[in-house]
Symmetry: C2
């Protein structure tokens, strides 16, 4: 920068003014400096600006684990917005480890992050509080256990999703519908279940507790719980999988027992992650607008960083039913050859 100033015969202040497009520079001078800058391969030093302006141009995204589905969809949305805004995205995975988490928190506190996107399904005491205390802007994505107005959150209409999924299966004629939930200590899991219950009740069907299995949103539980459902004296004709990863597990369990989808068993997922189209047959699922959620969250955070106040603190985006090929009318009679 000094070099440019020297060559233009002005002070660094003037160059700085040009770079930041601030007033106080004459037209010809500005043009001359501008040209000089473009000719040289000068780039502003990030650290110095950061130090002086107090903004790092970095936004941290914290998540549990780098996985293919849910998180990735959101990251894509976030990426998209940040890329345009000039911010860079720092990704950090806690791996559910509290020490790692604290480590990250400590690193974040050194002013090196302008804002944080919290993509943690669980509520760890401390993170939100510390962030709030330190005045670091942040937005939480995904439903929280305790509705709060202390900080902005982005979610989707989970309950409605659960309701819609069940209603759809009912409309196909199913009467015995199994559900594999997520961990029931998470609101998002309970919301799905509540939607399921409501739909059944409205259809005048008694909820059979045997058809409700608790999973953990992981593929493995999809397999295990499907087996449990199949081993029931009166197995369901459809399975609502809680999320798409578990739906993949359901597929596998069914494949093992040679039960065809959707002829012998309907399967519906939740999330609509990228690979749900890739499954055979393509998965019918409840779509959460993941990218859109990521975009919204990023935009809210940017506004927060800019010092603007948010109109709404909690945004809920709509879930929707995506019909593909994994659901059909219920089979007649008991399961075929596979039920051994």
């Amino acid at each position: 920068m000094v070099e440019i100033a020297r060559r233009a015969g002005v002070s660094t202040t003037t160059v700085s003014k040009v770079l930041n497009q601030r007033p106080g520079v004459g037209e010809k001078t500005r043009a001359r400096i501008q040209r000089l800058i473009e000719q040289s391969d000068y780039v502003q030093n990030h650290a110095a600006r950061h130090l002086r302006k107090g903004r790092s141009g970095l936004i941290d995204l914290v998540l549990m684990r780098l996985e293919g589905g849910y998180d990735l969809g959101i990251m894509q949305g976030v990426q998209e917005v940040l890329e345009q805004s000039g911010y860079r995205l720092v990704v950090f995975a806690t791996n559910e480890d509290e020490t790692t988490e604290r480590l990250w928190l400590r690193r974040i506190l050194d002013q090196s992050s302008d804002g944080v996107l919290l993509l943690l399904p669980y509520e760890r005491v401390g993170i939100a509080d510390t962030l709030l205390e330190q005045g670091i802007p942040f937005v939480a994505i995904g439903d929280r256990n305790e509705p709060t107005t202390a900080f902005p959150t982005i979610g989707s209409t989970i309950w409605l999703g659960g309701y819609t999924a069940t209603e759809y299966l009912l409309s196909l004629g199913h009467r015995r519908i199994g559900i594999i939930t997520g961990p029931l200590h998470l609101t998002t899991s309970r919301a799905r279940l509540a939607g399921y219950r409501e739909a059944l009740e409205q259809a005048g069907i008694a909820v059979d507790p045997a058809l409700i299995c608790e999973g953990s949103y992981l593929l493995g539980d999809g397999i295990r719980q499907t087996e449990a459902l199949l081993d029931l004296p009166d197995p369901p004709t459809a399975i609502f999988a809680g999320n798409d990863a578990q739906a993949a597990g359901v597929y596998q369990a069914l494949y093992r027992r040679h039960i065809r989808i959707p002829e012998e068993m309907s399967v519906i997922g939740f999330d609509d992650v990228t690979y749900s189209t890739h499954m055979a047959p393509p998965l019918t699922t409840i779509r959460q607008p993941l990218e859109e959620m990521g975009r919204m969250a990023a935009e809210m955070l940017l506004r927060l960083i800019a010092g603007q106040t948010l109109e709404t603190h909690h945004v809920e985006l709509a879930t929707s039913l995506v019909i593909r090929e994994s659901c059909g009318p219920p089979r007649q009679g008991p399961l075929g050859r596979g039920n051994s």
Copy 2:
């Protein structure tokens, strides 16, 4: 920091020495300051350190697109290493857009990145050169079009993978093996094909050009090219899918035509991405040690940043055959009902 120094009755220099564990401080003083630091919630200002030391603690990972498979596996490995080393990971997706790419390059040049991990399968003139020119340490992951010693690269034994996959199918008794390659302008695609050819030739089987289809490593091509293969007068009994995403496409195409895997058609993938276990049936594939590659790349980069010289500039990790359930002996006779 000034605050700490004041409370300890020393200068900031001394505090700095303690913080950086440098000599020149007495035992009791050190202990006293240490305690004071721990008590307060002081965190070193990142920007200032960065400015002074010239190190940002950031490493950039550039990739084409945030996707579920290959890239994610590598990212996980990278994450793992960086998390321990105290570096933070910045993720940037170019979306194959040259403007976006240049934008990123410009941002990187401001000293805000200590090193770069290049996860681009294509060769864009300029990136590597610019990085080299600017003296920014970087490591390229995945095979390059032109083998180079100018910068370190991490790859895997692709050719051998292609050979092994084909050999395995041959050992099961297959004689007509279709292959859906990646874009043939990429070495990594050509290497798979070369391995395929070699295996066939060694088995004394003539290579039938009709069985070779060019894809783009995307699911859609898996579908399209499978259909082309099935429409052949003499369709193959096994398909080597080039990568796992395309294998998912193959699954779908086969599903559409009611062709069972592996009874009527064997399918083998390449990469062993996370979801290959989730497929029904679980995909037999050639494993690239993605996480390991990510780890290695990150470690090499860290060493580079630390100013150490690398023993080897190009590392190739071994691919291996992962046998699951998508391959079996060839069907007898023509394809069943689906061949319409």
